[in-house]
Amino acid sequence: MRFGKLVLSLLLALAALPAFPQVGHPAKGSWLGFWGPSEAKRTRILLALDWQNRQVVGTINPGRNAVEIDRVEIDYATWTMTIEADMPLANGKTARYVATGKLDNLGSWLNRRYSGTYRHGDETGTFMLALN
């Protein structure tokens, strides 16, 4: 009987190993891709998202030109995520950046996608990011 319990415990411990990478909010991680008004005019974008105090927080293009995201909203019924930030324009002024897109392939750790449309000042376009 004691031996059976030992076997069961070890099997459960082994079963838990593959579950480790699946922790955290599905949006958490570094997302890499492009955004732009057209296919010919695309800009590289890196989105670093984290899950803190039951909220998604993060940064657009971490590094020297980092922009802090100040609002994230997720519609969990459709997994539509909206992020907002005040981001510099090419002329140096700042305009509101609002991106709305769908999180796809959430069951996959390596192939998650976040894609949709954005508005930045007068400019509108599309974006496509993959979990890096």
Partner: protein, 136 residues
């Protein structure tokens, strides 16, 4: 009955151990010492894990296209002995990496040293046999 259970347990444990070992490999199995690389790019992901830590950098090629390189380093413990901390690399940092490219020609390499955005150079705990490893 007990003998059958023992056999099952050994089998399952072997599978579990095999999954961990699959990530560990010799340098020569995956990388080409005769294909040196020197890459400069911004960090897009850092993955502190055993048996190898990986980080990813965005490198622009001659056409201006982005190549996202995966660079393998030593274990977290090995890197700590070479002066690394969890905060040494941050997303967006521009770094220069020297090392060897993967044999399959993918955007993957084994890092030998990394020059950080501060100008500091650190050894990456490379598994390359003759690599200068800088360990204390």
């Amino acid at each position: 009955m007990r003998r059958k259970l023992t056999a099952v347990l050994i089998g399952v444990a072997g599978l579990g151990a095999g999954a961990s070992a699959a990530a560990h490999h010799s340098f020569a199995a995956e990388f080409d010492a005769n294909a040196p690389i020197e890459l400069t790019g911004s960090v897009t992901k850092i993955d502190w894990a055993n048996p190898h830590t990986f980080f990813y950098i965005d490198v622009q090629n001659a056409k201006g296209e982005y190549e996202n390189w995966a660079l393998e380093m030593g274990s977290p413990n090995g890197l700590m002995r070479r002066g690394w901390t969890r905060d040494t690399l941050k997303l967006g940092d521009v770094v220069t990496v020297t090392g060897s490219r993967a044999k399959d020609g993918s955007f993957k390499g084994n890092a030998r040293s990394v020059v950080l955005s501060t100008g500091r150079r650190l050894f990456a705990g490379s598994s390359q046999p003759d690599a200068d490893d800088g360990a204390n």
